[in-house]
């Protein structure tokens, strides 16, 4: 095994190596015991369940996702054994259906995205120079919900009701007419995993925007952070659409609504639209961070900065946007108009430009560099080869006539496995070989790593390349066997052999990881002579990550030459010094501005707590209650969730006092209790509004889609809801929003009493809205189970009432705090008012759209 000191044959390119950079920073071992204690969790099980630190939570995400990866891999091997020979009877058709459903769902929902989320939660703070993520409790909550969601999903095996509807759950197969409780396991397990995904997305976005090291401007951000930022934003939009879609389908199944029931005015194709509006970005949600991994590894092994940084960032932005405009290319065979499908052919072809830019940039970086061919780079080279092949077949299936020919054949199976395994799993394996030494402090065996690569690479190509040919020859996917007369036995046998080789490769990786934890060579802080910040800290990293927050002056901080610093470069010493090994007794990190990363505040981070676990258990119990039709249990669990969230958000007086009495803020010259855009709460509210807006977008799309394809609207004997009551309700809502916004402004200017008075108006007007709209709904002449129109109106109105309820609750909580609030709580109260103001602004905007949709829409045309 190569030792860490022999890892590189040549020195780092610039004059200044990482050792010298490390020498400028205090050694983590110098941390005072009290500071270490501040960041440590209690020992034993208590610590395990109350943990909120990003490092263990990130590792748990990755480890759990890897277990699901192994399960999904086993399912794939079973399928390949069944298909090894024609007319095989090893597995029954039903078992095969369950296998491909669970395999696809596991790999897409339980492995790839959660693994990358875990990587982000673990790695991002180190890479961008922070001590933790923005919302440690939220990431812990997300992990527990993910774990329980995955267990609910797999509990279907215990009760013999395994989902068998495919990972896409097309209606009508997934409606209650054609499938039983197994589909509820799929929908509710999935819903929990989506909630976990949304929490991680929010966490990632706000961490990147607000917790970057001073000096790490947008133009200096590591490409990995750019891709995680894109991933996080895409999750916020795409996952909320899927969550909405799965809830609508579950309502069809449990409550009898009619969104997807054609006989009552619903639409089967609506599900496909909603699902693929999530499903296609999902591919890029996985692929973009994978490219970020590649962009981090390539320059390190090429020993030179990445070629075309700005081009790559442009490609990331392009991909993130355009990926939302491709969903219809999954529906080319669904019977849409030619003109409509042609638009999506065009956009599908054009996304190749963005991928091509990145591929050429990596090749240009490697070109002539004489790269060091270590295992991480081998996987990256494998990725380049496989992803280009998968991309080329992607361009082929973007063309409608070709797609119609190969639709539902093994050609498509080959295509998306080249993209997903080649484009995502190979980079993930590269990441494991590259960053595991940082996580464990031990190098992986290079020899086993090279074997892992070749077994995986050859096995992969042996498995999936023949599938292109099989598809051309007419082998249909999702069918448990094939007739001997198709003469596909040879190809299939080869594919099964390849799958076994891949399995061996994964097993070898597992052995390598386990063995290296004890016997691996010590990694040191920077075994690769890398360029990014995480390599300045010890391996494994201390719980507080950085003893003194770092600052950044270039895109490659460890390769920069400090003697080249110009007068314009700042190192923000006072803020960083103030936090060197401090504060003690409460956790803190620097908050910087979202664009230029100038220090803005010192941010308090929460310590160990059981609240995330309790909230996750209650959330999961709500879903489980619906699953087993125990609606009282579900309602009670939902109530417990709400109470836990209130406890979670309630400012802790003791903590506030501790923060106020600290001299860290004074020493740093920064606020300890920031408000407005300097606070993470403000950004978290904006992120939450993005999620909810996306969910409302899906509901509006549902409403208009159903209307578009309905012969009559309103359907049946229903009439449009009365304009007068609607006008009163929504007029009150908008007036309420104006009141809360005004109250916030007054409070910011110190006019506390006026603010309080006007704020009462917001609560009262919110109550008027709730009363009037619920009265209106109660008297509405189309029940939700009568027609798709009735379903759409009820759900949209109810969603609006729920969102308003949250706004009213926020305002009431603020009103309750203001009279008791000491002047010293002014910052906390201001922030509370600002959050309420943001939410009410959102309510006003979405309220106008809802009013136009529900009340004016049916009366126009």
């Amino acid at each position: 095994m190569t030792s860490a000191t022999e890892a590189l044959q040549r020195p780092a390119p610039p004059e200044m190596g990482p050792e010298a950079v490390n020498a400028r920073e205090p050694d983590s071992a110098e941390a005072s015991p009290a500071f270490v204690e501040t960041w440590s969790s209690p020992p034993g099980w208590v610590g395990f369940f109350t943990e909120v630190n990003n490092q263990p939570i990130g590792k748990r995400f990755m480890a759990t996702a890897f277990v699901f990866f192994l399960l999904g891999g086993l399912q794939a091997l079973l399928m390949r054994l069944q298909l090894a020979v024609p007319e095989n009877e090893l597995l029954s058709p039903q078992f095969y259906n369950e296998l491909f459903t669970m395999h696809g769902s596991t790999m897409m929902f339980l492995f790839a995205v959660p693994f990358l989320e875990g990587l982000a939660i673990y790695l991002l703070p180190m890479t961008i120079g922070s001590r933790d993520v923005a919302y440690p409790r939220l990431s812990a909550y997300g992990y527990w919900v993910y774990l329980i969601g995955g267990m609910v999903f797999y509990a279907s095996y215990l009760v013999g009701a395994v989902p068998d509807i495919g990972w896409f759950g097309y209606t009508p197969l997934s409606t209650d007419r054609f499938s039983g409780i197994s589909t509820d396991f799929w929908l509710l397990g999935l819903s929990l995993v989506e909630v976990a995904g949304l929490t991680a997305g929010l966490e990632i976005v706000v961490t990147i925007l607000k917790f970057r090291a001073p000096g790490m401007t947008l133009a200096r951000m590591p490409l990995l952070a750019w891709t995680f930022l894109a991933m996080g934003l895409m999750i916020l939009i795409a996952f909320s659409v899927l969550l909405t879609a799965t809830l609508l389908l579950e309502m069809d199944r449990s409550l009898g609504t009619a969104f997807f029931d054609v006989t009552r005015g619903g639409s089967d194709l609506l599900w496909q639209h909603l699902f693929w509006f999530f499903g296609h970005p999902e591919v890029y949600i996985m692929f973009l961070p994978a490219t970020g991994i590649v962009s981090m590894i390539v320059p390190v092994f090429a020993r030179r900065p990445t070629v075309g940084y700005v081009l790559i960032v442009s490609a990331i932005v392009l991909t993130a946007f355009v990926s939302f405009g491709l969903w219809v290319h999954h529906m080319f065979a669904a019977g849409l108009p030619d003109l409509s499908t042609a638009f999506f052919t065009a956009s599908s072809l054009m996304i190749a430009i963005a991928s091509g830019i990145q591929v050429f940039a990596w090749i240009a970086t490697l070109w002539g560099s004489g790269p060091s061919l270590r295992t991480p780079l081998l996987f990256v080279l494998g990725f380049l080869f496989l992803f280009v092949l998968g991309g080329l077949t992607g361009v082929m299936v973007a063309v409608v006539p070709f797609d119609v020919q190969v639709h539902d054949t093994y050609f498509v199976v080959a295509h998306f496995h080249y993209v997903l395994i080649g484009g995502v799993i190979f980079p993930i394996f590269a990441a494991l070989h590259y960053w595991l030494p940082k996580m464990t402090g031990r190098m992986l065996s290079e020899r086993l790593g090279v074997w892992t690569f070749w077994l995986t690479f050859l096995g992969f190509n042996a498995t999936f390349f023949p599938m292109h040919v099989m598809g051309f020859l007419g082998m249909a996917r999702r069918v448990y066997t094939y007739p001997r007369e198709l003469e596909l036995a040879g190809y299939n046998l080869l594919a099964t052999g390849g799958a076994l080789l891949m399995g061996a490769g994964t097993l070898l990786l597992l052995i390598n990881v386990l063995v290296s934890r004890r016997r691996g060579a010590p990694a040191g802080s920077d075994p690769w002579n890398a360029d990014s910040l995480e390599w300045t800290i010890p391996s494994p990293p201390p719980v507080f990550t950085y003893l003194r927050p770092p600052s950044v002056r270039s895109r490659h901080p460890l390769w920069e030459d400090p003697t080249a610093a110009s007068d314009r470069d700042e190192n923000f010493a006072s803020a960083r010094d103030a936090l060197a090994g401090r504060p003690v007794g409460w956790r803190a990190t620097l908050v910087t501005d979202a664009i230029d990363a100038r220090p803005q505040a010192v941010h308090h981070l929460p310590g160990p707590t059981l609240i995330p676990l309790i909230a996750a258990a209650a959330t999961s119990l709500t879903a489980i209650g619906v699953l087993i039709s125990a609606y009282i249990l579900a309602a009670a669990a939902a109530l417990v969730t709400a109470i836990t969230v209130v406890l979670w958000l309630r400012p802790n007086g003791e903590t506030l006092e501790q923060i106020r009495s600290s001299d860290v803020g004074r020493a740093a010259g920064l606020d300890l209790l920031p408000t407005g855009t300097r606070s993470t709460a403000w950004w978290g509210t904006v992120g939450t509004i993005t999620i909810v807006s996306s969910a409302f977008g899906a509901l509006f799309y549902t409403y208009f889609y159903l209307r578009l394809f309905s012969q009559e609207w309103p359907q049946g004997d229903a009439t449009a809801p009365p304009l007068l009551i609607g006008g009163i309700a929504y007029g009150a809502l908008i007036a309420g929003a104006a009141s809360q916004v005004l109250a916030t402004r007054l409070f910011e200017r110190g006019l506390r009493r006026y603010a309080q008075l006007i704020g009462v108006g917001a609560v009262a007007l919110g109550a008027v809205f709730l009363g009037a709209s619920l009265f209106d709904l109660d008297n509405f002449d189309a029940a939700p189970w009568e027609s798709a129109y009735g379903s759409a109106v009820h759900v949209l109105a109810f969603a609006m009432a729920l969102a308003t309820g949250v706004g009213v609750a926020l305002s009431i909580a603020w009103q309750a705090r203001v009279p008791r609030g000491h002047e010293s709580e002014r910052a906390s109260l201001t922030l509370h008012a600002q959050v309420a103001g943001l939410w009410w602004r959102f309510l006003a905007a979405v309220g106008v759209l809802t009013f136009v949709t529900l009340y004016l829409g049916p009366r126009i045309g």
């Binding site: 947008l218 700005v310 405009g325 409509s340 065009a346 956009s347 501005d593 230029d596 100038r598 394809f709």
Partner: protein, 156 residues
Amino acid sequence: MNEADRADVAARPAPEEHEASRGRRSRESLRARTIRYRALLAFAFFGAAVAWAVHLMVSQLVSEWSYFAGEHRHTFLDVSIVVWILAGVTLVLLGIGGGSLLVARNLRRERQDVPTAPPSAATVRFATAVGLLSGIVFLLVILAQALPLLFFPDGT
């Protein structure tokens, strides 16, 4: 002086231009200028992307709705009215997207006008470069999405 500094100096306006613009600027509140500047920067960064998104949404909705409602049968000069509408939408959105590229180019040239930090001049350079590069491709995608209009004159 590094390359970025040299570029800054090269892009700085002549003294008389600078005086004139300073007088103009003094009449405008700093806050208003900051908001306007950031809005322009956001337009330079996202304008073409939003134009593309609107183009795709409108194209899909209009084509599907007209097909199922039978509206595509109405023609003008033997070409479906739907195709005319979508061609018009394409032109408008190409104009908006092109406008965002122009704004990006102008902001790159006049970057010393940044009223307050953030964003710094370096960030403006970076953001406008990304806006320009991605914007060009977004405009290409809009054009590509308009190509089918030439091949389906009956609007189906």
